[in-house]
Symmetry: C2
Subunit: 316 residues, 2 copies
């Protein structure tokens, strides 16, 4: 395919309209640099990093790639402001913001001359992002791993509605791990895709090997949305998930759920590999992830399969 | 597009790989015949018909079209056996079975020389259908209206997994109302699509005009899955939905929910137009449905937009 006219590629200065999702405990310098080196946009996921660790990873990422990369900043996290300051001072020009209102953060970033993409789960929020000056929106469907919108709109219905609602580029996210899914997202009118789970399960991902293996072994129905009424999050089913589900089923309140969640559950599961008691954030697309290849291999496969899907469609 | 080599079209003897979903209170003879006359496969939705009414609708459908049409039979419904006998005796050769194990019903239908498609929500069930002798599977994602799988797999992740799992044709359902969504489903490897909500909101649908209007006015997040732990069903939010959601949130048991659901809620909502107290089954794609056109108009639009999407993809 020839992506030279693709407006997401032009906006970000990349060769392929594929963004690697910023994921806690997965997307450090190694993963982000590998994706950028493969022609996509790598993102440092700052959500699980204290500022000092973030600074180190930022320096490392610079040393590993000359290509553009960005930083994902969940706005509600305690260190988000400091992370943004560090990154801007270092010369980062691409930010993906999520988990919070884009308005305030975007003002600062736009003043600094940065390109800002915000993650949304509804066409209404996509419009607010465009109005606030965002350069693009990332529309993330119900099937996505980790934190998730309350509207439960799937990628298939969310993306066309966002494409209708805004004029800025639309990136589809949620349920995209193969070239066929990438082509499907483009058929829905997206300008590009964000890929999370598939990059979380690569050699360059900093997730624990036991976690990666658990995703490889997961079947079709093995993830589920937990905490639907509070902070929806898609998890791989395990003992911890069952505890949360049981508490929810009997109508536990927010405080009880918060205590159950406790501190460090995600770190325990995804970074330390505690498959029973840890929180294992991953997308529904796990059922299509069967190995732990390199990032370059993932991108090559996806590109080949994308072309095959488009050729097949055009031949009908 | 040229669909003469499409294996779903060849299996069913139709011109376009588009099946109209069999929907209670929506899909009588008028809707089914209109879809078949437009080149797709119309289905009589027998789920809401007693055998005498079904017999009338069957005769009427024959009088309205010379093209192939089929019958949708929810296997768990009380009259399903009688409906199947009536239809087979009348010469119907295409059946879509749903809501129940395909095994027993399929044996009878295959012996009678019929073509059988079963609706599934997981790749595991798709494999069982193939083993049981089904001619095709309809893979229905989480975004679909009405009754829904427990796995909550979205169309984007369900379809490719079913395509991997079976050799028989795979029909994608859930979230498909536009030509772009149709093209997306084909990019995922589907052989065709089943379209429900979009056909429910046409002139030929037998749903109440007030119900159709409510879907036209619905926004992106206005449907939600209710009864998740019992019999998941996607509904338009209304007073009845809120009552169910409230009961679920405080941990109501199956009996209480069953009583709340009561008898005739769906009839009241969809056929009689009681938008407050009725059960309004419709898909998440409601947010993309903005008018009440004829079936011919829907099919023409979808075909034009399909071609546009494929051409756009091939040009990149």
């Amino acid at each position: 395919m020839n992506w030279s006219d693709n407006r997401l590629c032009r906006l970000l200065g990349i060769d392929l309209p594929v963004i690697q999702g910023g994921m806690i405990y997965m997307s450090g310098a190694k993963l982000a640099a590998a994706v950028s080196n493969a022609g996509g946009l790598g993102l440092l996921g700052s959500g699980s990093m204290r500022p000092d660790l973030f600074g180190e990873q930022l320096a490392k990422c610079r040393s590993l790639t000359d290509r553009p990369f960005g930083v994902n900043v969940p706005l509600l996290y305690p260190h988000s402001r400091e992370v943004v300051e560090l990154a801007v001072a270092d010369g980062v020009t691409i930010f993906v913001t999520s988990a919070g209102s884009p308005k305030r953060a975007i003002g600062v970033l736009k003043k600094a001359g940065c390109t800002v993409l915000h993650v949304v789960a509804s066409p209404e929020l996509a419009v607010k992002c465009e109005d606030a000056g965002c350069d693009a929106v990332i529309c993330e469907g119900f099937e996505a791993g980790g934190h998730n919108g309350r509207e439960e709109l799937t990628t298939m219905v969310l993306v066309p509605q966002c494409v209708q609602a805004v004029n800025i580029p639309v990136v589809a996210a949620g349920g995209i791990a193969t070239g066929g899914q990438w082509a499907a997202a483009m058929a829905l009118g997206a300008d590009g895709v964000q890929v999370g789970s598939r990059f979380a399960v690569t050699r360059e991902s900093s997730g624990h090997e036991a976690f990666k293996q658990a995703v490889v072994e997961a079947g079709a129905g093995d993830t589920m949305l937990a905490m639907k009424r509070h902070v929806p999050v898609r998890l791989l089913r395990n003992r911890f998930f069952e505890q949360v589900a049981e508490a929810e089923a009997r109508g536990a309140d927010r405080d009880e759920l918060q205590e159950l969640l406790g501190q460090g559950r995600a770190r325990r599961g995804m970074l330390e590999g505690d498959l029973d008691e840890g929180e294992l954030e991953i997308g529904q697309v796990s059922g299509l992830i069967d190995d732990v290849p390199t990032v370059a291999e993932v991108v090559a496969r996806m590109s080949t399969d994308y072309t095959a899907a488009v050729t097949r469609l055009a031949g009908a």
